[in-house]
């Protein structure tokens, strides 16, 4: 199974390390090994970021019946290079009344958190940049520092739009962090480990020889996946949840006072956050780097990971091209009244599925639990019957 193409990067790294082994002191070899991982991680994901930025504009253009960027290079593929150069040579404006230090560190911290979060995801067989036992916990611990960084951006800019944007961002991040983490719990519970590699390994079998053993194919897994994906949309501030940077209301939220490369860094962090959330969704629910069908396993594992990642990223763009921005209060109601109860239901449903022995009956029971809760919630949260002429609290 572990054929040479699949493990080519691992072998290359081992070869390089064994070459260095006699020639450098041991601690230095360890550092070289870590730096190699980090460099590869950054290289791959910065390239993906560049590709994604142009593909997003292309796909959005297609959805809105226009061409999108097509001037620079073949099919506009060199657009990110042009954008990068533009961003680099732009003037970096810092407001006179800004808190300079905080203003400077905010974009760095946002990007650093996103990059660190990418580090624990298994990209292929034996291809996890940082192997730690509590990988899933690491992901969320690092992700939770983003809130502070966004606050720093808002506060450091000393601008009301920045501050309002940061407040909104923190409010929605904290609200949606709850469903995001609770939807992860069923997987952790069923696998019995916080280690991403073990979670991927637990999904390696196939039912009847062709239905993959992915958690998304169980009732609780499908529900948890959808909830996780929606929360991921919110955490990465993507449309329809891009309230913190709602252009029509608060200019660009916490990024209002950023220009040049610092703005590009925020942009980068948003995309890296998107990659990280999609990567974790793949790890938890979509079988990680496993092939969808057993006879497709001859393709290398990292191919499958990135194939799945592209599909999820396409969904991100698709959602952005389709849905309008949601209102702040609607979003908060949705988080606390719908997402959170559904997330807890997933937990119960997964427990039933697990302790009923993963049979067909267990499958049906867990489906029934989710269906009942979903129908009850939609009955109680139905706002259509309350339609009446709109009233305004602060305006006549």
């Amino acid at each position: 199974m572990a054929n040479s193409v699949d493990q080519i990067f691992i072998h290359a790294k081992q070869w390089l390390l064994s070459f260095l082994n006699g020639r450098l002191p041991d601690p230095l070899v360890q550092i070289v090994s870590s730096v190699l991982n980090i460099a590869l991680l950054l290289g791959v994901f910065l390239t993906l970021f560049a590709l994604m930025s142009v593909l997003e504009r292309k796909v959005l253009g297609r959805m809105q019946n226009r061409y999108g960027p097509n001037r620079v290079g073949p099919f506009g593929l060199l657009q990110p290079v042009a954008d990068g150069i533009k961003m680099l040579i732009k003037e970096d404006i810092v407001p006179a009344r800004a808190d300079k230090v905080v203003h400077f560190f905010a974009p760095i911290l946002v990007a650093a958190a996103a990059i660190l979060a990418l580090g624990v995801i298994p990209y292929g067989r034996n291809m996890t940049p940082f192997v730690i036992d509590g990988g899933i916990l690491f992901f969320f611990a690092v992700g939770s520092t983003t809130e502070l960084a966004v606050f720093m951006a808002g506060w450091g800019s000393n601008n009301k739009f920045s501050m309002l944007g940061a407040m909104r961002a923190i409010a929605q991040m904290i609200s949606y962090e709850l469903p995001l983490i609770i939807t992860v719990l069923p997987v952790v519970m069923v696998v019995g480990s916080l280690n991403p590699d073990k979670i991927v390994l637990a999904q390696r079998y196939y039912h009847f020889g062709f239905v993959p053993h992915w958690f998304v194919l169980t009732p609780w897994g499908a529900t948890a996946f959808i909830l996780f994906f929606v929360s991921g949309l919110v955490e990465s501030n993507r449309t329809p949840f891009d309230v913190p940077e709602g252009e029509s209301e608060i200019v660009a939220g916490h990024m209002t006072e950023y220009s040049g490369f610092k703005y590009a860094t925020f942009f980068l962090a948003e995309y890296l956050g998107m990659f990280a959330v999609s990567g974790l969704a793949i790890t938890l629910f979509l079988g990680g780097w496993h092939a969808p069908l057993p006879w497709l396993a001859f393709l290398p594992s990292y191919f499958w990971f990135f194939a799945k990642l592209s599909v999820l990223l396409f969904v991100f763009i698709w959602v952005r091209g389709t849905l309008p921005r949601i209102r702040v209060d609607q979003m908060m109601n949705f988080a606390w009244k719908f997402m959170l109860p559904m997330a807890f239901t997933c937990l119960v449903s997964a427990a039933v599925w697990y302790y009923d022995g993963r049979r067909l009956a267990a499958w049906l029971w867990s489906f029934a639990i989710i269906a009942v809760v979903y129908l009850t919630l939609s009955l109680f949260l139905d706002t259509r019957k309350k339609f009446r002429p709109r009233t305004y609290r602060f305006a006549e």
């Binding site: 808190d99 905080v102 036992d133 939770s144 809130e147 904290i174």
Partner: protein
Amino acid sequence: MNVIAFGAIAIFTLVFALAAATNPRLMHAALSFAAMFVGIAAFFFLLGAEFVGLVQIFVYVGAVAVLIVFTILLTRRNADKDRGFNWGGILVAVLVFFGLVWAILRTKFVYTSLPIAKALSVKQIGQALMTHYVWPLQCVAVLLTVALIGALVLVMEDKPE
């Protein structure tokens, strides 16, 4: 290797702790405090207590620091105003310091060479929490839920007539 790492982390943590204690700009002090928490988490990582380190970042940087920052934001009209010297703070700090020193001096030190404790895996910690320490855990959970509901009740808006 470990000594260098320890020294670097110690300097980092101490610098930010001092900054948190002495910086007259309240917001900078709060952010230095958050950076100091990261330093403490790094200590836990260095000691192989990965779970505690992660929880340290999760809880203190992700939640407590945000809470402090928001408290400053919501309670102060001018967050940057110089506050003058706080003698009460000195008193509390000295009391806590001597309390800790007293506790350390009273502790019986074990000088025999013990086998180096193996780092606990997350699974072992989880099992201990769910079996041996399940009642304390449940009490804390109930307390936090009560606090959460209490906060909700406090800020709940009266329905307009």
